[in-house]
């Protein structure tokens, strides 16, 4: 025995390893103040990094640059309304996605579902507008937008429920179908070959201005929708079924939920809300249509929903932040003669930090004290106490 023991130690000595410097473990839960602090630190770090980048690349004072973010988003009453209506549309699309995502149905087709709602609205405005009063025209536009959105949402849902197709691919491809259909409409409606069908062709069916404000109606509709989606998901039987199906299809089957029915029903809702957003976008905001009208917001909304952890009220903040960054960044580009790329870099850095800080919300890092230099050890212990 001693011989083997000796041998073993000999061979082991050559490979003596030091303890790892730190290790990572999963958090059980995180107090609210800590999660807010982590996010605040992330935003500050992002601003610091983009500030350094600004000085390095352009020589501009980063603080002056940041100031114009606020000017761009809130500099005048027009800008405030513009920012708010942009927030409303983005928020509305995120709300539309939320029931599907709660059900773990990865709908990447909001872009197309909104756009097809836009197309249906514009088509009715163009074809029927002028022949009937607005009181009839507007409900007709709304209904067709809802129907179009539902169609785009429910096709992938039916295929998923019946044959288990991949909803991510299916919904994604439906986006391109919607874009091509809009291109067709543009060619048919505007013989001049313009790539926009504008207010001159869509004269009727504009949504009324509440209190003289162009966008107030849109904003109010989305505000009401926020509350409705919240209540629907949290307090209705449908919302409960959505959660159960999303968490575990086996449990849903076990208690007798008709999983196929829930999938289809939820995507009807999700598609209808996307269609509604398309209706608001055309009839309430742009009064025109082109194939880029939704402008990627169908995808940005996915990020809004995730960042807010599917809580409709947090989504208000998340969509406001994204719209603010967008408006501010384009202001900065024009003011300082920087191109659009600069603002996209800054937006990208901020989002990277915001999403990256999720790691620190879910995990914590333990420093191995024995590996620290002696003068740091005391501090490390103090830090740890504070954290606990």
């Amino acid at each position: 025995m001693t011989a083997t023991g000796h041998e073993r130690n000999q061979s082991a000595k050559a490979h003596v390893k030091r303890e790892p410097l730190f290790h990572v473990s999963k958090r059980d839960r995180i107090p609210l103040w800590k999660s807010i602090t982590i996010r605040a630190v992330a935003i500050l770090a992002a601003l610091l990094l983009s500030g350094i980048l600004t000085i390095f690349l352009t020589g501009e004072n980063p603080l002056a640059v940041y100031k114009y973010y606020f000017v761009g988003a809130f500099g005048s009453s027009f800008k405030v309304w513009n920012t708010l209506q942009g927030t409303a549309i983005l928020l509305g699309i995120a709300l539309a996605l939320t029931p599907a995502y709660k059900m773990r149905f990865w709908n990447t087709g909001a872009e197309g579902q909104v756009l097809i709602g836009c197309l249906a609205t514009a088509f009715i405005m163009w074809k029927v507008g002028g022949t009937v009063p607005d009181g009839l025209l507007i409900p007709l536009m709304l209904l067709s937008a809802l129907a179009a959105g539902i169609l785009w949402g429910v096709l992938p849902a039916i295929c998923k429920a019946q044959w288990g197709t991949n909803e991510t691919l299916f919904t994604l491809m439906m986006n391109y179908v919607a874009i091509q259909l809009v291109e067709c409409f543009l060619k048919v409606a505007d013989k001049t070959g313009s790539n926009t069908v504008g207010p001159n062709l869509l004269k009727n069916g504009w949504l009324p201005k509440l209190g003289g404000q162009d966008y107030l109606l849109n904003i109010l509709v989305v505000a009401v929708l926020t509350v409705i989606v919240y209540v629907y998901l949290k307090y209705s039987k449908h919302g409960y079924e959505i959660s159960v199906v999303g968490e575990s299809e086996n449990t849903a089957r076990y208690i007798g939920i008709n999983v196929k029915k829930v999938i289809i029903r939820t995507m009807v809702l999700s598609g209808a809300l996307c269609g509604l957003m398309g209706f608001l976008l055309v009839a309430g905001t742009s009064h025109s249509i082109d194939s880029n009208l939704v402008d990627g917001r169908g995808f940005t909304a996915i990020m809004v929903a995730w960042m807010a952890k599917f809580n409709p009220f947090f989504m208000v903040l998340a969509s406001l932040l994204l719209v603010f960054l967008d408006k501010g960044a384009s202001e900065v580009s024009t003011r300082f003669g920087l191109n659009q790329d600069y603002s996209e870099i800054v937006t990208g850095i901020i989002l990277f930090f915001l999403i990256g800080c999720e790691f620190f919300m879910n995990y914590q890092i333990h420093i191995n004290k024995s590996r620290l230099p002696a003068r740091w050890r005391k501090e490390a212990v103090a830090d740890k106490k504070e954290v606990q």
């Binding site: 473990s25 076990y254 208690i255």
Partner: protein, 551 residues
């Protein structure tokens, strides 16, 4: 310490090992223990007492927060499984890590890095040599997918020996074995011990600890309690050390009263989508006021059987007849959805084996989990959380569920408390049939006995209880009749009061063409007295069959 200790040298020593997960969970606190050369040390402890965590630190999977490890008196740092092998420590995990399409030899040499040329033939010869030395039955060229669970385990053990391990750690090796296979494994372990190897075996089955180990180290809630010499202790003393206080280990089995047929399963057959026949002509009766045990090697069709009764699976043929105790009507549950079954007035409760993946939703709180069964009630579009909340509070109180509040997600509760929540919900609807699949899997002794008592209570209330279990001792103590299932077939029904473990073990593996005889098929029409005697004769049949297969 005892004189045997002084004779043998210390192979492995742990000093003041502490391991934390997160800021709240302390898996091991200040654990110190010794393993000698040429001994079998059992690590005994309830679930969550930190046995596996401790072993994972020796095997290099976790790294201790505090404390030191010594191998042959030398302080070592084990930061990875490769380090562990350098110190000749090998661990056999509960879940096998084998490549299905490879042979046993290929799996054994997989990942070995030495300077020698790769020679599969030589390796196979060495595998055969190791097998012969310790008495393993292992074919070096058999593919893993052709192997039984016990053979796969053998591959894992030989893999560790092939790499020259002198200290072997086995994490609950008997959980997947029949009694006969367990005996074979123990014989091999004894031979390895006599060869001078140190063996650490994790288990919570008391009789195994007593039969295999030389010494027992007891852990309780992450802390080291004591190490005792096995021959100087007994079951009661060990249990007391493990739990921390005296508990009675008796299951009170009352005699069945007012027994009548409740659920009759006739000739059911089921084929999976892949075309595998998982249930073959199953016939049995579950009676009110009785606990019917179902024994069998895991994956023999138990799950499919219960799920098809609960309306979750499509059957090829057969009938599941339920006698309604209120109306006296008989209805067929075959190919009905769970909702339809409920609407027919059938009071069927089901505790599935996958608690958090099927019975409950892990991310929802206790109230919302109570609602799973009842949320549909009423015509309102909105949920009523008031009565589920009251039910949740009632279950927490009456079953002593340990939880911070009713709004804690159930996945945060310990295994025993999760199970209390699930069983509590299922019996709250006053069922006529209660099916429970492995209801004590992963539960500590106290929680297990709570569950046994609940099942017994249901039986006294006249419920037909169907209990799928894995611990044969418990099945024999708890049930009235035990039905054994092997490869989707019923291989026998025995009276639990006079059957033995060996009988059950033989029936579990006698899955060769044992067609249900006329006797068995007519079992449902027999009178009460006759029924309870469907025992030794059939068990004996199984035995004979098994023997004739061997010779």
């Amino acid at each position: 310490m005892n004189e045997t200790v002084s004779e043998k040298k210390v192979a492995l020593e742990l000093r003041h090992i502490t391991k934390r997960f997160g800021s709240e969970v302390i898996a091991n606190r200040d654990v110190s223990l010794q393993v000698l050369h040429g001994e079998i040390l059992a690590i005994l402890g309830e679930n969550g007492s930190g046995k596996t965590t401790l072993m994972n630190m020796i095997a290099g999977i976790y790294f201790p927060d505090e404390g030191e490890i010594f191998v042959d008196g030398e302080k070592v740092t084990i930061a990875s499984p490769a380090d562990a092998f350098r110190y000749r420590i090998g661990m056999i995990h509960q879940h096998f890590k084998l490549v299905d399409v490879f042979t046993s030899t290929e799996n054994i040499v997989l990942g070995i890095r030495d300077d020698q040329r790769f020679n599969l033939k030589e390796a196979a010869a060495r595998v055969a040599e190791i097998s012969a030395r310790y008495g393993f039955e292992l074919d070096p060229n058999k593919k893993i997918y052709n192997m039984s669970v016990s053979e796969k385990q053998t591959v894992e053990i030989v893999k560790v020996l092939y790499r020259g391990a002198d200290i072997l750690i086995l994490d609950e090796p008997t959980a997947v074995l029949t009694p006969q296979e367990t005996e074979k494994l123990f014989a091999v372990l004894r031979r390895m011990r006599d060869d001078g190897k140190s063996i650490i075996i994790i288990t919570h089955k008391m009789h195994e600890v007593l039969s295999i180990s030389d010494r027992v180290a007891i852990l309780r809630r992450g802390e080291y309690v004591d190490t005792v010499v096995t021959k100087d202790t007994d079951e009661t003393a060990l249990t007391e050390m493990m739990v921390g206080h005296k508990i009675s280990l008796n299951i009170e089995r009352s005699d069945p009263v007012n027994v009548c047929d409740r659920l009759t399963v006739k000739d059911i057959r089921m084929t999976t989508r892949e075309g595998v026949e998982v249930l073959k002509d199953i016939n049995f009766v579950a009676r009110a006021g009785e606990i019917l045990g179902i024994a069998g090697i895991a994956g023999s069709g138990q799950r499919e059987l219960l799920e098809s009764i609960a309306g979750l699976r499509h059957l090829d043929s057969g009938e599941i007849l339920y006698d309604n105790p209120k109306t006296g009507e008989t209805v067929n549950l075959c190919d009905r959805t769970p909702i339809q079954i409920r609407d027919m007035g059938v009071r069927l409760s089901f505790v599935p084996e996958d608690r958090l993946g099927m019975g409950l939703v892990g991310n929802m709180d206790i109230t919302d989990n109570m609602m799973l069964r009842s949320y549909r009630k009423g015509h309102s579009m909105f949920l009523n959380r008031k009565s589920p909340k009251e039910l949740a509070e009632h279950i927490i109180e009456s079953l002593e569920v340990v939880t911070p509040s009713v709004s804690t997600p159930v996945r945060r509760l310990s295994g025993g408390n999760v199970q209390k929540v699930l069983v509590g919900r299922e019996i709250s609807s006053t069922p006529a049939v209660l099916m429970a699949a492995y209801p004590v899997r992963g539960l500590d002794i106290n929680s297990s006995y709570t569950i046994y008592n609940l099942l017994n209570q249901q039986k006294k209330n006249g419920v037909a209880v169907i209990f799928v279990g894995e611990d044969l001792d418990v099945l024999l103590e708890l049930c009235d009749r035990i039905m054994v299932i092997g490869s989707g077939k019923i291989t026998g029904v025995v009276d639990a009061r006079c059957a033995t473990k060996e009988q059950l073990g033989l029936l579990m593996t006698s899955d060769t063409a044992h067609k249900p005889t006329a006797e068995e098929e007519s079992a449902s029409t027999r009178t009460e007295e006759e029924k309870s005697i469907v025992t030794a004769t059939e068990a004996g049949k199984g035995e004979q069959q098994h023997d004739s297969n061997r010779t």
